[in-house]
């Protein structure tokens, strides 16, 4: 027999316990907090919601709830604006086997009017809604992840072979602030791999060329230029305003300099390096795991590890390794997946073999151990044995 709206609601109340906003407030103050499920439309959620609430509009409930809440014994409090949609949603959840579902009877409107704590998500422009639409669809990114990307500050050391794909993909992803350190100018021989730059910019400072390309790709990005060579004197000033440093440099003194500076300032370092047909990527998290010196305590003797200028490099290789670095940066910003902290990915393009190696923290590391012997930046050219070579 067909039911009226009132009968339908009365039926639902027989099945679903209702709680008041005060009950919810009390429960959220306890240790084992129930999950808050906001079943309103995205626009309503965006304008304000209970802190920690998971958005799942009523229209998508049946389709997405099992992905969102796989454990059907999870305590759930559903809410909407006034307690009607959430009651019907909660009834559906009961029918789907969720054991502990309640509905907040007076809804978000009453919660807000009572002066209880609520939060608003970042407001995206229409252009941003379109630009980042593919990110919004991914549960690991979504609007909250996109807001983290837009708030993130990432420094790229080098606007060359590695720095080009790193900066391009971070800009495309909407990383809000991208710093670029490079003292060089664009050379014709760079264009075989350094895809930030173009033919008509030969002779232009690389930081200028990088800014032009990144701004043309995504006007959301604030490019901060450092047209200088990174050194012990300027590194702390340059990295201080950034959360993550991406290493795309081409020499050992700078690698050790950046590692030490990041360890000393507890900044995440995403390191990438290449040689001819092989590449390596690892993430140094000074709060958790080994640093570059734990892997390579001593630099190789001068001349033992030739630069790409000397040894040549296949242009697509820095493209691949730089993209892997950009991926690790984005994972770290989002807190998604398992970053390459304590692991190194080694990629051999000729054999098409990827190895992921487990690293170990050196208990006697000069920089990141409990009792480090190096607590201030040193002369890295001298450390790498280059002072004598250069003078010769």
């Amino acid at each position: 027999m067909a039911k009226t709206y009132k009968e339908l609601m009365d039926d639902a109340r027989q099945i679903v316990p209702e709680v008041t906003i005060d009950d919810v407030k009390a429960q959220m103050g306890n240790g084992a907090k129930p999950m808050l499920l906001d079943v309103r439309e995205r626009e309503e959620y965006r304008e304000g919601h209970l802190e920690g609430a998971v958005p799942l509009p009523r229209g998508f409930l049946e389709m997405r709830i099992e992905e969102t809440v796989p454990d059907k014994s999870t305590p759930i409090i559903a809410y909407c604006a006034g307690g009607v949609r959430s009651l019907i949603a909660a009834r559906t959840l009961k029918e789907m086997g969720y054991e502990h579902v309640t509905s907040m009877s007076d809804g978000y409107t009453a919660w807000k009017n009572a002066g209880y704590k609520w939060v608003a998500d970042r407001q995206f422009t229409q252009e941003q809604m379109t630009r980042y639409a593919r990110h919004f669809t991914l549960p690991e990114v979504g609007e909250q992840g996109q807001a983290k990307l837009l708030d993130a500050k990432v420094l790229c050391v080098g606007a060359g072979g590695l720095g080009s794909p790193v900066a391009l993909y971070l800009a495309a992803a909407g990383v809000g602030t991208i710093g670029i350190v490079d003292h060089d100018t664009v050379d014709m021989s760079n264009l075989q791999r350094q895809i930030l730059h173009t033919n008509d910019r030969v002779g232009m400072p690389k930081v200028e060329s990088a800014e032009m390309t990144l701004n043309a790709l995504n006007p959301d990005v604030n490019v901060v230029k450092f047209n200088e060579r990174l050194s012990s004197e300027n590194v702390m000033r340059i990295i201080k305003d950034f959360d993550i440093v991406v290493n795309g440099c081409d020499n050992f003194p700078t690698r050790y300099l950046i590692n030490d500076a990041c360890v000393m300032t507890k900044k995440i370092l995403v390191d990438g390096s290449i040689f001819q047909f092989e590449g390596q990527v690892t993430v140094v998290d000074p709060n958790d795991g080994p640093c570059y010196r734990c892997l390579f305590p001593e630099p190789p003797p001068p001349g033992a590890a030739p630069s790409c200028a000397e040894a040549g490099v296949l242009g697509v290789l820095p493209g691949i390794v730089g993209c892997m670095q950009a991926l690790e940066v984005i994972k770290m910003i989002l807190g998604a997946g398992k970053p390459l902290v304590g692991r190194m990915m080694h990629f051999d393009t000729l054999s098409s073999e990827i190895r992921v190696l487990k690293l170990r923290k050196d208990p006697n590391c000069l920089v990141c151990s409990e009792n480090p012997k190096i607590t201030e930046l040193i002369d890295y050219e001298e450390f790498c044995g280059l002072r004598a070579v250069n003078a010769a």
Partner: protein, 85 residues
Amino acid sequence: MADSITITVKLFAMLKKYVPEGSSDGILLSLPSGATVQDAVDAVKIPREQASMLVVGDTYVEVKTVLEDGAELSIFPPLAGGVRG
């Protein structure tokens, strides 16, 4: 216990120049039982200061680690680039 073990050594990047011709899938080494990673590094004639990252299987090992029969030792040097130049 056997008197000797056989291991495979794989070299990467700049260290590939130490691979003898025809050994591109790895250098087969016969070493006395109880041989360490350092013994293997010396046997393939790599300067000790260039053999910094030593891996058996997928796990970092020390030079004094004793090798087991059938082990695959990979030696990775640090890479300088990035590319500018």
